[in-house]
Amino acid sequence: MTIADAEGAPRPALEAARLPDGVVRPDEGRDWVADLAGSGARHEEALRELRGLLVRACRHQVWHLRGQLPGVGAVVIEELVEGAADDALVAVLARLDTFEGRSRFTTWAYKFGVLHAANEVRRRAWATREVCLPDDAVWTDRAPGPEHLAEAADLASAVASALAVALTPYQRRIAVALLLDHVPIDVLADRLGTTRGALYKTLSVARTRIRHHLTATGHLSPASGETP
């Protein structure tokens, strides 16, 4: 896999991870936890292979989100991959004792690489962008057109009303930033000095309040939870 022609080049094909000896399934024949927690040559070898897996996961994720980084060249992309892999390696080793064997170790490790790479891409993509959290915006349904059903317009109007009256100002700012302005949740968490989990909880409460409002106004069926 190469990213030498990164700018504007097609995304590299995702190939199965390969060990130096050509073994495709990196979980086979290795006790990852024991080797990584141990010492000596097996530890060093396991560490090297783990970092290789994390680079693969990070590279895949960075390419997956490549569209968020227009104008960023191959060298910077690769620096981003390597940095995220280093961070992910630290995270995997710190949580090694929480691996329960419910999935393959490689899958468990990949998710750390994917998470760290995604965070890096989103952070870089928004590094120079301001995140506004206005609470004075007014929402309307789109002007009805020939293609626009009256029911849909009515629902949009009800949701706009729910945004205005059913949410606290903080819930409204978070919902608008995440869902309407599409600010990545990690970026918003960084800017507000909070966590992704806390923001998602706020968003869930906001959605629940909107749904309750819509149920009360007859726009959402209490039995099915669907719009009538």
């Binding site: 997956h64 999935s103 899958t107 468990w108 007014v138 309307t140 949009a156 869902l179 959605r207």
Partner: protein, 90 residues
């Protein structure tokens, strides 16, 4: 001072009204992501961990990461990720 009215698109309406039950936090989603990705690649119709699908439909960041994990797992298993991804996005 009040801003100019902003239109709510059908996609905005859908995003604002998505169900969030059964509840799952982003942290719990991360903890389960490896098991779920493997289960979905092995059987795209799996009914395991239904709370994961609800969360992944409601959380764009977790969904982006789950998609990559599914692609990596599928590549290692030598199978087509498309059915699992279709379930994820369905």
């Amino acid at each position: 001072m009040t801003s100019t009215p902003r239109p709510l698109t059908p996609e905005d309406v859908r995003a604002l009204t998505l169900p969030t039950e059964p509840w799952l936090s982003c942290e719990d989603c991360f903890d389960l992501a490896d098991r779920y990705a493997e289960a979905l690649v092995e059987d795209p119709g799996t009914r395991a961990l239904p709370e994961m699908l609800v969360h992944l439909h409601a959380c764009a960041a977790c969904a982006e990461e789950a998609e990559s994990l599914i692609r990596l797992v599928a590549a290692d298993a030598g199978v087509d990720p498309a059915p699992a991804l279709a379930r994820l996005h369905g």
